[in-house]
Symmetry: none
Subunit: 238 residues, 2 copies
């Protein structure tokens, strides 16, 4: 039984798992579903594969030697280049504390062991479906702000803008989704990750930081507050 639909085929999944039997099982199951599978047995190998293949999704085991799955997840989400790659974590059943911590790293879903292959594949499909396809664009421009995605550089009015990782992702999201209102919760979902438990007001703070960074170029007015709803990125002033 193949449960994935056509849009899933050919997607590359990086499996980070130290136990070879499980790794092989995962590879077999996922390849049977039509995915490309990259396997890594530790964090080091995973980093290589990550940079080289740029997978569409990372499946990572919570229990890992040397660098734990949690650490690796944090590392992944901290790197602006890879932060938008969805992440699913494999975790042992019932470890509530672990589960919460795992969620806090910003992973998009988690699957508890023992798991059925069908369920795993289903969750992978669900996460991939949610993911925006436009992840590998070279250059984004909106309202005089130019983002060089590959170099992770931002320019506005010729002057270069220095941003922290979170502000960069925020701006990147806004420039690729302009002229739309987003609630704080939606922004948390799409920029921080789908299962992060963070105060909604934190969004305000990062909005402010981004505004401050854009102010010298006079572009801070592109971020508009929609009272009672959220924020909007727009070229036309309100």
């Amino acid at each position: 039984m193949t449960v994935t639909d056509s849009s899933m085929r050919g997607k590359t999944i990086l499996v980070v798992e130290d136990e070879k039997p499980i790794r092989d099982l995962l590879r077999f199951s996922l390849e049977r579903e039509g995915f490309q599978v990259e396997a890594a047995e530790d964090a080091a190998a995973a980093r290589l594969s990550l940079a080289e293949k740029r997978p569409d999704l990372v499946l990572i085991d919570w229990m890992m030697p040397v660098t734990s799955g949690l650490e690796f997840a944090r590392e992944l989400k901290a790197a602006a280049t890879f932060a938008d790659i969805p992440l699913i974590m494999l975790t042992a059943r019932g470890e509530e504390g672990d589960k919460v911590k795992g969620l806090n790293t910003g992973c998009d879903d988690y699957v508890t062991k023992p798991f059925s292959t069908a369920e795993l594949v289903a969750r992978i499909s669900a996460v991939l479906r949610r993911t925006v396809p436009g992840g590998s664009d070279e250059r984004i421009e909106f309202g005089g702000i130019e983002i060089n995605v590959a170099a992770q550089r931002v320019e506005a009015n010729g002057q270069s803008i220095n941003l922290g990782p979170t502000e960069y992702r925020l701006l990147h999201f806004f420039t690729s989704h302009p002229e739309r209102v987003y609630s704080r919760e939606q922004l948390l979902d799409r920029i921080w990750g789908q299962n992060v438990y963070i105060e909604e007001r934190t969004v305000d703070v990062h909005i402010r930081r981004l505004r401050k960074a854009l102010a010298p170029a006079g572009k801070d007015n592109l971020i508009q507050t929609v009272r009672g709803t959220g924020y909007r990125f727009s070229a036309t002033p309100s």
Copy 2:
């Protein structure tokens, strides 16, 4: 106890459920929370309601005669017009296969029976919060007033109109339900929410504020007072 927040007010939910007792229960519970509820007992009725009302969310029972819930979900997600409407599935407990297939159909969440109303409402709220309004670049136009739902922006005669949250919802409701009289009580129900106790006179005030906002564009005459009854939004002057 109402667990929904203001952004949920007036959202329309289509309930597709063949068993009348459950359908009535769902309707009661959801309406108490301030949702608009459309009920359909089979796929055919659901299609009608879907096209006519364009609900904000579809709640569908897995077990359905003739066309199963799964089939209907696939149909929904395949139709370009409706694919962006979020979908929650009701399913019997413990049926692993069902769970997997449900996720794969592209439904945004599922609730296993028996379920608590609180949980159902919580999940509905969560899904609705995630959903971006006006998923398919929805635009409403009436009498020279144009509403960009996604951006939550209003234009009339080319000039942009600035509205507060309540006035925006009021105008949004009017433009999507023109040429029809609504009493103050009806407007309170549909715009403020079903269980809000507010002076009916307050409606007058917001009508006035909306008129004032539309006046610069000369569109304030679209809101007509029907003495002894309520208000009407119409293109033809009285």
